[in-house]
Symmetry: C2
Subunit: 608 residues, 2 copies
């Protein structure tokens, strides 16, 4: 053996690997995949004919997939792409020419045409027929280092599927754009966190809208006041989940339960739009977040050592439910009783939990020019604010919910200390405003007084012809990270916006540079000024320069109306002297170059 040449050893090695794979495929033909091996499950299509289950192996940096195909025709495409598009996608393909079936790793080009991947990274583990359909088992490393492959990252993954309704003679004959298919968003890389044990004395309470008629307009924030029983003692909310009226899943965009300020003995009952003139002003004092849910999220569990306090002395009995109805098709007369179901216990946990808003203040001074494919806005929670508001022992962030409106594409919050980036709090580089889950973090993040939390949002406004300003409307934008943490502090809002005086100088500057009429008339609103800018790369770039230079106005608030004492205007921008390094993906050992070939499968004839 030691006299073998290197080349021979390598060749022997790969022959064995190949033999091993064949044995594995054959062996798995008969084995039964156990459901418990794949804890996460989601239907891919609206009819539930395709069901994906999966598990994640962090030590191996790979995802194992089990795909149940209930009604197999002549094959199936399953894969991933940046935002769910069928072009430039990374695909596992099962196809039949009418006689034989094959499996292969492919990619689609910018025109939707399929190509065999030079490196086969969707690794087939087995295929099995069962009464309910065909099970396909396969595996994918998070990162394959094949430039044609999608990198599976934390955060949202856009899964796509396509049905082959006719036999195909080769993979190259398939164009995905012509197929029946769809997309499903999931968080593939679920954190390795076990659901905490729930106490025996747990009770539930539903805070739901009382048969509201959803207004026939695109955007409605609905406000409904609820009340805890009199003398309701302090409890801990340890879990909550959405209650969405069947049929309204696409209309209920997000919901929040706020607790009112304790300094008022009573609050008026109200059930109507939040922006109505009829809404009592006192409702503005109901801004302490108890629960927040947005489209796509599941039930939310607190960590075992913390719960969200409500009830008892010093805590208002009054709750405000706010529902954001997004009704772009302007349905009329749709009735809704959605809301949130709280699970709570009288057996208090060691710590009270809280929710804090990071990112940008809802103000038009933060705007995105039209026609941009990735414009970045940044919101700061400064050292000065955390110094004042956080306890010396710090806080622990355990969950996070990222939030933007329709133009949002990425959201990242980074923790910085003494100007040096320490760690990512939460990042979603494939963020979708249609999939705003509250996500438990993989690692709890400790934040100490003097730390900075910097939230950057990336927007795409390629489909817009005028500037998008910050604000509450669905066509205005937000950049928010709701972080869930313990122990609770008074700090509810730690957000920023550019100093309005500097923005005014910007308007003057671009008007002069572009030889436009100079309008410094104070009666023109900031949105109007943004709308009237003749956008070009110079005006765009100078706005970027302004946002990364001008001092900021900080909202370091106990509630949205009450600031911590101190000077919060014209604050210096936090500076970063050391950035986090992009992690270089670990790649599986690269095999010797050999022609990529489909794996034949013995599935019998697929369709009569």
């Amino acid at each position: 053996c030691p006299s073998l040449k290197l080349r021979e050893v390598a060749s022997m090695y790969f022959t064995m690997v190949a033999a091993f794979l064949v044995i594995l495929v054959v062996a798995l033909q008969g084995s039964v995949p156990r459901g418990s091996d794949f804890p996460y499950k989601v239907p891919l299509d609206p009819q539930g004919l395709l069901e994906l289950s999966w598990n994640v192996s962090y030590p191996e940096q790979a995802v194992n997939f089990q795909l149940l195909i209930r009604d197999l025709q002549f094959g199936l495409l399953f894969g991933m792409s940046d935002r769910g598009e069928f072009e430039n996608a990374d695909l596992a393909v099962l196809w039949s020419d009418g006689h034989n079936s094959y499996f292969g790793d492919a990619w689609s080009d910018a025109k939707g045409q399929l190509h065999m991947d030079s490196q086969q990274d969707y690794q087939l583990l087995g295929a099995r027929r069962a009464p309910e359909g065909l099970y396909l088992l396969f595996r994918r490393a998070f990162s394959t280092c094949d430039p044609k492959d999608y990198v599976i990252e934390d955060g949202t993954v856009h899964l796509i599927y396509g049905i082959l309704e006719k036999p195909v003679h080769s993979l190259q004959a398939i164009n995905v754009s012509a197929l029946h298919g769809g997309l499903q968003r999931v968080q593939l890389l679920k954190p390795n966190i076990s659901i905490p044990q729930l106490p025996r004395d747990m009770k539930t309470m539903e805070i739901t809208a009382p048969d509201v008629v959803i207004p026939s307009q695109e955007t409605t924030y609905w406000c409904y006041m609820a009340e805890l029983p009199e003398g309701f003692p302090k409890h801990h909310i340890i879990m909550y989940e959405p209650v969405v009226t069947a049929g309204n899943e696409a209309l209920v965009h997000h919901m929040e339960v706020f607790q009112c300020a304790a300094e008022f003995d009573s609050f008026p009952h109200y059930n109507g739009p939040c922006d109505s003139k009829m809404k009592p002003d006192r409702l503005n004092y109901c801004r302490h977040v108890l629960a927040a849910w947005a489209m796509g999220a599941q039930a939310f569990y607190y960590p075992e050592e913390a719960g969200l306090a409500f009830g008892g002395p010093g805590s208002s009995r009054y709750l405000r439910l706010e529902i954001h109805y997004h009704n772009p098709l302007v349905f009329k007369g749709r009735r809704d009783s959605s809301g949130i179901r709280l699970y709570y216990t009288a057996t208090l946990r060691p710590f009270d939990a809280g929710i804090m808003e990071l990112g940008l203040v809802y103000t038009p001074v933060m705007a995105i020019p039209p026609g941009e494919d990735n414009f970045i806005l940044t919101g700061y929670c400064t050292d000065k604010c955390t110094q004042l508001a956080l306890p010396a022992a710090g806080i622990r962030i355990f969950a996070s919910q990222l939030h933007t409106h329709l133009a949002g594409r990425k959201v990242v919050t980074v923790l910085s200390r003494d100007g040096r980036e320490q760690q990512v709090v939460n990042a979603d580089r494939h963020y979708s405003p249609h999939f705003q889950e509250i996500r438990m973090l993989k690692e709890v993040v400790a934040v100490f007084p003097g730390d900075e939390l910097i939230t950057t949002c990336t927007y795409n406004t390629e489909d817009r012809s005028r500037a998008t300003v910050g604000g509450f409307g669905i066509l205005e934008e937000m950049c928010v990270n709701y972080v869930h943490y313990y122990p609770q502090t008074q700090l509810e809002l730690c957000k920023s916006a550019v100093d309005p005086g500097y923005l005014h100088r910007y308007f003057n500057l671009v008007n002069r540079f572009n030889d436009e009429e100079i309008c410094m008339c104070p009666q023109v609103s900031v949105p109007q000024q943004f709308y009237s800018i003749p956008w070009n790369t110079f005006n765009r770039d100078v706005l970027k320069s302004l946002y990364s230079f001008a001092p900021i106005s900080m909202h370091c608030n106990k509630s949205s109306a009450v600031r911590f004492p101190g000077e919060w205007e014209k604050q210096p921008l936090p500076s970063i002297t050391e950035r986090l390094r992009e992690r270089i993906p670990r790649c599986p050992p690269a095999p010797e170059p050999h022609p990529a070939a489909p794996i034949p499968l013995n599935l019998g004839q697929l369709r009569r």
Copy 2:
């Protein structure tokens, strides 16, 4: 064998690889490396005690090194770093603890401390004692995909070496900052081009300065007029080389031979500084480049099908030699007779060759703010100019010389067609103003009418406290690519600069934004205006935005004084819709993770 588990096969495989390597090292101990295997050679140190030879294998994407150590003490460090610094370097280390010797792949951190590389990529091929010293043979892939490793790219590579003068007990005990060592710049990845056959009737001619006393000032451009014999017929220059007076190697920064305009029958003799008031104005008509050399370059050969025409009817007999003396230590009375030796033939080759200047016009309107670590300026050769000046069959660029002054760090020229980048003409991402070779291109680049040539220069001004403007002084900057091509055209200069009117708007804008006194007084020069800007990130970013937005003034010139007919002011910036993809480096197969260990060598005791 087929019943072996995957893990066992892999383990067997790596055992064999290791065994194979040991055998190889032992086997090579006795073999004699042949000189012809390593065609490129350079001394690393001023005394010539370390001599590096190498060859390049493009099929294997690797460099083979042979290092001759004439006076080995207790070991040696050899490696590469971004700009020749000892910190953050990638190093092959030979070290001895006084008894045994070891070889390993290491890296130095930001403090100069050595660490063993987790992946051993300097691959030892052999070591051999000879009468002249110790030969070490080793190999490095261009790219290893180890993030601690230097990527060997086209262009300049900064090689470093360090001498171990005492025994060391481990690699970790070495700090490179404390060692005696130095740096040598080379182009490691020499193109695979053979030197063309030289004709038998080749003659030589020296155009040299007549015993000039170098002025005792930092920057001098010296002008000397020479004359061809009367009736000198048309010849082709097929090669030239520098003639540098011994001892003045560090003072002669670059030299050019220009031919004068044919429309004048005679030119005055002159021998003096180019900027002297005594210099006859007519010398400004001597701007047709015949030969250009700069510090670090070797002899220059024309491709077999082309030569540079001179002599004959329609060609002036008058030549101007221009020497840029860089004398920062202000030596007095230093005499110099440097110049250029031309090799020429009367047997004309099929094509006349030419030299064209790409990049930026020498004007202060293109400036770099102080304190920048990588500020980019871009010069354009537009489609309008190539449309007018190039023949329908296009031109072939076969060589290129990149040129900046002291702040230059990178220079790249890209060919773009219809807004889509096609290929890199020449790129040096580790460019040094102290190593300005004329480089033969790996591939000849065809340029057609309507193509665009875009040259970007990256500057570092971290050591400067005021703006660096464009100009001729060594502390002013240039961004030039002299491309050598055939067949010759009338186009000698295809360069750009920002429109001065837009720059004026910029000065007004930043003055207003910063609430500075507004000086629009026309008597203040552009450099003075740049010097008076209070630099901050906003003013810097807006200057960047201006340069990537404002229209340009084009120099589409037959010679530096004569433009092609047409409108060349306020031209639109070429726009790029499709960029060249960064090439993803091919990596060698990643071995299973195993502890990195030094390789013991049997060299006997190194020092008594």
